[in-house]
Symmetry: C2
Subunit: 198 residues, 2 copies
DNA sequence: CCAAAAGGCGAACGGTCGTGCTTTTATTGG
DNA sequence: CCAATAAAAGCACGACCGTTCGCCTTTTGG
């Protein structure tokens, strides 16, 4: 890896941190240059437009998520244990233990882009969110064939439900600073599992 | 109402629409002046800083929410029917039928401010969100004393759960454009009620 | 109807934004 | 070690940001 790619990677890591707390809108080239102790133009040269920087940082965040949340969770046994592991890691991802200081990167960015006009950045975020939904549904489906969950349970509804729990957790812990947020999230998760169990 | 207050009110209505789609960050004085066919300085004079404009628009949105969602719902019979009415109206509020084109004003703004430093705007949003959570919990509590729900159910957990359903609905419908989003939300809501029923 | 007050406009300010250029400095391969 | 190449800096630009101020126009109360 040449010097260029090295700085580029470092810039993207810092950018992901910025976005997780300040949103895509708070990610500014000048600010990022300051943080990296680089000149605006020097940093700018690595991406050739702001949009490309944004796309790159979304992709970096997706990598980080795959690397620290998804991949480790996939090593747990299929079905319910894997679901538990994924949930657990997602909670830690959300509260900043695993990577980014501002909680879930995608929670911030999703809300920011939900009514935005179509574009490369939005598309990339949508695709990451779809992937995550599919992942949840698929793991749940596996749980059905493993005999952990009722065969008539709806995996996509389950994915919808658990996403709600996680969004509500993010909301309660980040915005409302509710100390019971994690307990509430775990309680809700257990209730979902109980309702799906055979 | 003098001419001044009249324009001010109209400006705030338009501002709320802008914020619901573009976020607080997308609310710019120049843009708002254009939309209102007013000069920047003329508009600015009504608020005397951007922060005061932001606080005012959050307050206006809270009024709108109370007027179109909360107050009508409170006229339904206590307990479960009231909860249903509130949920139903909140869904319509979220998809823009009731007021603002960009879906739930507070869903956008909450995510934007969750990691922001303390300030009047953030405080006002937090207080509105707390109020809404308390409202949900209280209506649920009433449902317990009316005998609709199990006495050992936890109203605050219920408020957490339902907020998750609504956030997931917002996410699915706005960002992912999932046509089944509303069905999923209603299914999830019914499941929550079923679990809480005697 | 007229004076006083309120509302609105136009121009200008210092800043920051994203984005080009050209030049200087580091890195690298032969 | 030196030439070729890559990376970073410096500087300038037009656009828009929030904000101020002085002037004009409209509304209002007596």
């Amino acid at each position: 890896m040449g010097k260029g790619e090295e700085t580029r990677a470092a810039v993207l890591d810092e950018a992901a941190r910025v976005v997780s707390t300040a949103g895509l809108n708070g990610l500014t080239i000048g600010l990022l240059a300051d943080r990296m102790q680089l000149s605006k133009s020097g940093l700018f040269a690595h991406f050739r437009s702001k949009e490309q920087l944004q796309v790159a940082v979304v992709e970096r965040a997706a990598e980080l998520f795959a690397e620290r949340v998804v991949r480790p969770a996939l090593q747990a046994p299929r079905g319910e244990p894997r679901l538990r592991e994924l949930f657990d890691r997602k909670l830690r991802w959300d509260n900043g233990d695993l990577a980014l200081p501002g909680g879930c990167f995608f929670a911030s960015v999703s809300a920011e882009l939900d009514d935005a006009p179509p574009g490369r950045v939005r598309d990339r975020v949508v695709s990451a969110e779809r992937d995550y939904g599919d992942l949840l549904a698929n793991i749940f489906r596996t749980g059905i064939s493993e005999g952990h969950f009722r065969p008539d349970a709806d995996p996509e509804q389950y994915a919808f439900d658990i996403r709600g729990v996680l969004l509500s957790y993010h909301h309660a812990s980040r915005l409302l600073a509710d100390p019971k947020a994690e307990d509430r999230a775990r309680t809700a998760f257990e209730a979902l599992l109980r309702a799906a169990r055979i």
